[in-house]
Symmetry: C2
Subunit: 797 residues, 2 copies
């Protein structure tokens, strides 16, 4: 563990100035490249040393049995896990017969730089071999946003003093050895050699491997081709065996000469297509990439990102580190989802094997709203993926004795993979979360075609689920008993307010959408009675309230429980789930992650400002943030109720989670939802952005220390700029037809003609609430980096 990172703070790059082997696995996650289809961890070109080798293809998974000492009806019996596929990143180098390995010889310099505008990872190293030969190695790696199946690497080597004999081996390697995951059952199941060979081939400078997974029977292919620029005498050869394809380039270089290799990589997989179809697809992708060329790929990448930053631009003054962090977050979010194209967005993106590569509610609640406002088509794609899993979700609902669709708590392919039902199956809110994301997307884009084709059916089937899950009780209230809300330190609660409020919105949204698309609704079997029953359930939804405390309880019983004994809980006892049994967490007032507070963000309309302030003050001293999903939400509500410095502190915690490895498990992949929490805390927190009906509303404010926050959002085919300083807020319509938005309670109309300027509102707040002892927001000065593998349980993303 070190206390200062080797990362320099720069506006548009993540720049590592020296290599620290202790944090290698963490930096492999930070420097991961992905386009949402292919993911390459930031492993060194030469493969070793390595924290955790990782090459992933979105939605490609292997199956493994889930063994229960005591099974029961409805338990999932098969798990799905992301696997490390054929590694095409590897370019080994021999300098006068000595392998280039930075653990030997002397590393004079080593720099890596993730360029957020160019979309490439650059590396330069100067190295003196154990036998005294010095070379400079430079590489640039990209995973193309524009050519979905393609990654590419430019690799250069030159001698610095003496002539050297250089051999470069560019490889495809399947079934790489992985480090021992230890005995921690939460590390996921890793098969030692998950891939079975079907084909291996080399021809000229081209190599190809095709494999399939053993249990899930998915076929996966990787291919490479090369351009070589070297002095006269450069020789090349190629060979393959079932798990390796290798192109070797050999040359004697004198100082001033250099060898440059452009490696084009193509990936593809399918559950259905034949070996020869995959083969041909890879060759075609390589042909297209070669035709574009290395410079062409770089230019496409740059143009693509230019367009992205135009829509997703965000500027912060007064905190350069935060400026860098929010761009880092947005860049990795883009990488996680851009070319997913109806595949899921895993909690870790494609940056590591954490959480088995599963997708959770993170996607719909913490990722898609921001994506909707910056890259709306990617949000639509992710929801189309959910929609494609509807048959499985319907089947699951039938299995559980429910109507409609019951989406899985965690999955890759669509089947429920959570083996702990109190925080899996019982966490039905995932269904309302999906409905929330659908309604949010439709409201922000007015994409009626999407609503008709995809959104309505998702809304209808989730509404049906809620209607069958709850019931009208003897007092005429619609109860939803025995479910688990977002806070995983509570479970099987009655009338969890978050769940009930989101289910209420789900029921209403379904009825409204059905009214907008009567024909499609009829085709889905929706009739007037059913719509009325949804409206009635929504109308009569039970939202408990504690009159004694004047507080909204998290659920019926929560405020009756004993408060957790925080005073006697030592710092080493966090995260609590590793040190105390669930039964005890469930029966006490202790909150793992924002639950009622999240409800106040997503359903702010259901609480008065005073109630929000009282609730926030009540839950702050109970919330331990043992989940990384909490800080951003607390920042949003802290900002709303006026605790601006506290909001800033939470913003910092979420912003630096991975860059500073605050959760000690960045090695297994980045926390995409938490990273994006940085954007949320800035835009929904200090910008106060909410949907009010179908309109955007803002309630801007700034904490001390930040002098300006400016951000862009896209909304209903418009691009809007909001520029907040301590004194004034400037709203500008950058593109599109005039639009009315809310500034606090004032409705203002924006047009491209002229910006609207308003004074930045002031807000009074009560005394700053206290967190549980030792659980105040993490400071960035407490930066620590580790290769530790502690990871929250699988259901706690």
């Amino acid at each position: 563990m070190i206390t200062q990172p080797a990362l320099a703070v720069e506006a548009w790059t993540i720049h590592e100035r020296e290599l620290n082997l202790d944090v290698l696995a963490q930096t492999e996650s930070v420097f991961a490249l992905s386009n949402g289809h292919i993911g390459l961890r930031g492993n060194l070109d030469e493969g070793e040393p390595c924290g955790l080798p990782g090459t992933y293809l979105n939605a490609l998974y292997e199956l493994h049995p889930l063994p229960y000492p005591e099974g029961a009806y409805g338990y999932p019996e098969s798990g799905q896990t992301i696997i490390n596929v054929t590694d095409g990143k590897i370019i080994r180098l021999l300098v006068d017969d000595t392998p280039f390995d930075i653990r030997y010889g002397r590393l004079q310099s080593h720099e890596r730089e993730l360029d957020l505008r160019e979309g490439v990872l650059r590396r330069t190293a100067k190295w003196i071999s154990p036998t005294g030969r010095s070379v400079k190695v430079s590489s640039i790696r990209l995973v193309s946003f524009t050519q979905r199946a393609i990654a590419a690497i430019s690799y250069e080597v030159e001698p610095l003093e003496d002539p050297v004999h250089i051999v470069v081996q560019s490889e495809l390697v399947a079934n790489e050895a992985l480090p021992d995951a230890g005995t921690d059952p939460r590390a996921g199941t890793v098969s030692l050699a998950p891939l079975e060979s079907e084909e291996h081939r080399v021809q000229n400078l081209r190599g190809l491997l095709i494999h399939h997974t053993r249990a899930s029977r998915l076929r996966i292919g990787a291919a490479m081709d090369h351009l070589v620029e070297g002095p006269e005498g450069t020789t090349m050869e190629a060979e393959s065996i079932p798990n390796i394809a290798r192109v070797s380039v050999s040359v004697r270089l004198r100082p001033g000469e250099r060898l440059r290799i452009i490696k084009f990589l193509a990936y593809g997989w399918s559950s259905r297509r034949s070996q020869s179809a995959i083969h041909d697809q890879l060759i075609a992708a390589l042909t297209a990439a070669r035709s574009t060329g290395w410079e062409g790929l770089l230019a496409e990448q740059r143009d693509f990102l230019h367009e992205f930053w135009k829509n997703a631009g965000i500027e912060i003054e007064g905190d350069a580190e935060l400026q860098e962090a929010v761009r880092f977050a947005l860049f990795h979010t883009l990488q996680a989802c851009r070319r997913g194209e109806q595949h899921p967005i895993p909690a870790k993106g494609l940056t590591g094997p954490g959480y088995d590569g599963h997708t959770f509610w993170d996607t719909e609640i913490f990722v898609l709203p921001s994506v909707t406002l910056t890259v709306p088509s990617a949000a639509a794609d992710a929801l189309r993926w959910r929609h494609s899993t509807l048959p499985l979700a319907r089947e699951r609902a039938r299995q559980l004795g429910l109507r409609g669709a019951a989406f899985p708590w965690r999955t890759i392919h669509g089947e429920e993979c959570s083996s702990y039902w109190p925080a899996g199956t019982a966490a039905f809110h995932i269904n309302a979360d999906i409905a929330y994301a659908v309604a949010f997307y439709v409201a922000c884009t007015d994409d009626r075609a999407f609503e008709q084709e995809v959104g309505l059916e998702l809304l209808v089937e989730t509404a049906r689920l809620w209607h069958s899950l709850g019931f009208l009780d003897a007092h005429g209230q619609f109860r939803i008993d025995g479910v688990t809300g977002p806070d995983e330190y509570s479970a099987l609660a009655n009338n969890n307010v978050y769940t009930n409020l989101l289910a209420q919105q789900n029921l209403r949204a379904a009825a409204e959408a059905a009214r907008r698309h009567p024909q499609v609704a009829r085709a889905l079997g929706v009739d007037a009675d059913e719509m009325a029953s949804w409206s009635e359930a929504a109308e009569k939804m039970l939202i408990p309230y504690d009159q004694d405390l004047q507080v909204t309880p998290q659920d019926d019983a929560f405020t009756s429980y004993k408060r957790w004994n925080f005073a006697d809980t030592t710092p080493e006892q966090y995260p609590l789930f590793l040190h105390v049994p669930y039964f005890d967490l469930y029966r006490k007032q202790v909150v793992k992650q924002a639950d009622l507070v999240l409800a106040m963000h997503l359903r702010g309309d259901a609480f008065s400002p005073e109630q929000k302030a009282r609730n926030f003050a009540y839950y702050e001293p109970l919330t331990v943030r043992d989940s990384s999903l909490s800080a951003a939400t607390q920042a949003v509500i802290a900002a709303e109720v006026g605790h601006l410095q506290l909001a800033y502190d939470y913003l910092a915690e979420t912003a630096f989670l991975d860059l500073y490895d605050l959760a000690q498990n960045t090695c297994n992949g980045l926390h995409i939802a938490s990273l994006l929490g940085t954007w949320t805390a800035l835009v929904a927190g200090f910008g106060g952005l909410r949907l009010r009906g179908d309109s955007l509303a803002f309630a801007p404010r700034l904490p001390e220390g930040i002098t300006r926050i400016a951000f862009h959002v896209v909304f209903r085919n418009r691009r809007i700029g909001v520029d907040i300083t301590a004194t004034e807020v400037r709203y500008a319509l950058l593109e599109g037809e005039p639009l009315a938005v809310w500034h606090e309670s004032e409705n203002i109309t924006l047009s491209t003609q002229e910006a609207v300027i308003r004074p930045t509102p002031r807000i009074q707040a009560g005394p700053r609430p206290k967190q549980p002892p030792g659980r105040a927001p993490l400071k960035r000065t407490a930066r620590s980096l580790s290769n530790g593998t502690t990871e929250p349980p699988h259901h706690n993303s």
Copy 2:
């Protein structure tokens, strides 16, 4: 499945008149012999055919890992399971070289008879071999109540027509092949060859095998010796290999001649003693048994049972089948516990491998009260076993963050073996159940030495648990949140009334016992403040009440839940836990087994008669009895509130559970607690026996169809007879000093001088309550016998 059993109804025997291979495994359980230390399933002498071979030693277990797809803090990682040890029952017979196997040749007759007064299993078979030789085989088997380490078999064979050459092989066989348990995770883990050989030896007619278990490292020895009576020319030889010791007797028999072999079997095991110590112990036991001789063992057994039936005598007129069933139940209970001697009483006794051989709360709540009133020293022994596990229970409490002792939900050795915590760890009532049994035992025996040495510490440590598990809330009520009561279709409930009432009694009993034994209490660290805190918690214990319904809810929220949709539940969907997910059972009004109704039995003082009647009427239509533990309790309360015919029906269900295989899993062992429920339904139900303070109280009544119930109980060194007919009740003190007891609200004094006679009280009840559709008490006419292996989950004993 057959609809009529082959069992004849006889007052003192269980008599099987013909062999039905379809129900072999079930009858092996019914005909099991045990003394609480050694258990022999009723396997045929010759070993095959066989339903499930079984030879068990109480508390001898093997360990196996408990794999969790997603582990968490406090989960038990190691399971314990009963194992089939060295089988000494086997006596193989060859008739002119043809093995005696009733599946071949022709079985002319086959009878088995479990004699409840003699304590033996008799068998006679007449068989014609495939080659036409006819023989008569007779055996008598016993497991000695008086010589704890000893079982013995008398085996006779005689030709019926022609001379035959007979070979009898008497064996000890370790690591017998077991039938495949299938993929049902509830069948428990069975190791293929659990025993590793340490010693094998034969000498003359004596054989001995010593093994140890692989993981639990327990040493187990079995030895045999023989007396052979045969005509001249009888030859004998012996041999051994690591898993087999064999004594072979060969002779040519003419009609009128016979071969008789007396086999003495000795068993011993230890976690500490050496191989040679075990060896010598076995030889000593054999020597003693030989010295007693076969006839001597028979006589001791008869005398022992005579004494037992004197104390535990029960007579029923009007229902001969019930008369047999209750004796069968008492006999097997005696077998399960008599010579356990500070070992646990497993849920299945030593009659089969069901529930992995674990002990549950069944012992303290359903077995020990009856045992206390019939064989009090055996009850004391069982509680001494619990006491011996206190260090482990204290350690478990520490692990869970609690004070005092947290006893395991299921165990053999004392460690928690339940892998499903919502119905294991969270079922804390096990601790109050133990305290209940302690207090009940002390009240019924006035055994102050036991209280001082064993009882007080159990009461104190369980009271400490409750005090740390609950808390005084803002309203001054003592709440116990998030625990699971007896009904396993509810879990993690707040203020389960059963739990809170038994915890209340636990806290009070601890304070009272500490006052009676101040010195011991001080040594246990109990001071006046702690006693006061227990009393305060008891005093302020929250007992929820539903004012709207005028019903005691099972827990805070139970009566708010949706009622289970019984109308749409098909008969095939029972037991529900095999067909619906737990989350849904937990959030609905559906009761697996008596919970609030059990509280009304054990804490009748906490309810008015009217409240009992209302509560019973409320819970009957919700109670599906998917646990065999329920019917007897429902019988008791049905009788108390006056539904006498319903009580009779429930009595019949529990009485015939195993004889008629009503639960379809008798093959895995008998349900000791349910069997004994027959006694409870008769004595506590129709006898109305309760403790009122430290006195016995009766409230006798008879249903139509039973003309007389007479029973004995032992109480405070007295033997009391109660004789109930439709018109009068006769109370007699059969032995001991005069004693005051309650007849209804009248205090009467019994002496050996003269019986007290009172008219049998009449009681009015409302309309007979309805059970859920299809869940009325099972009729004995619906008798069905099967070898099925369906077994409720491990936590549902």
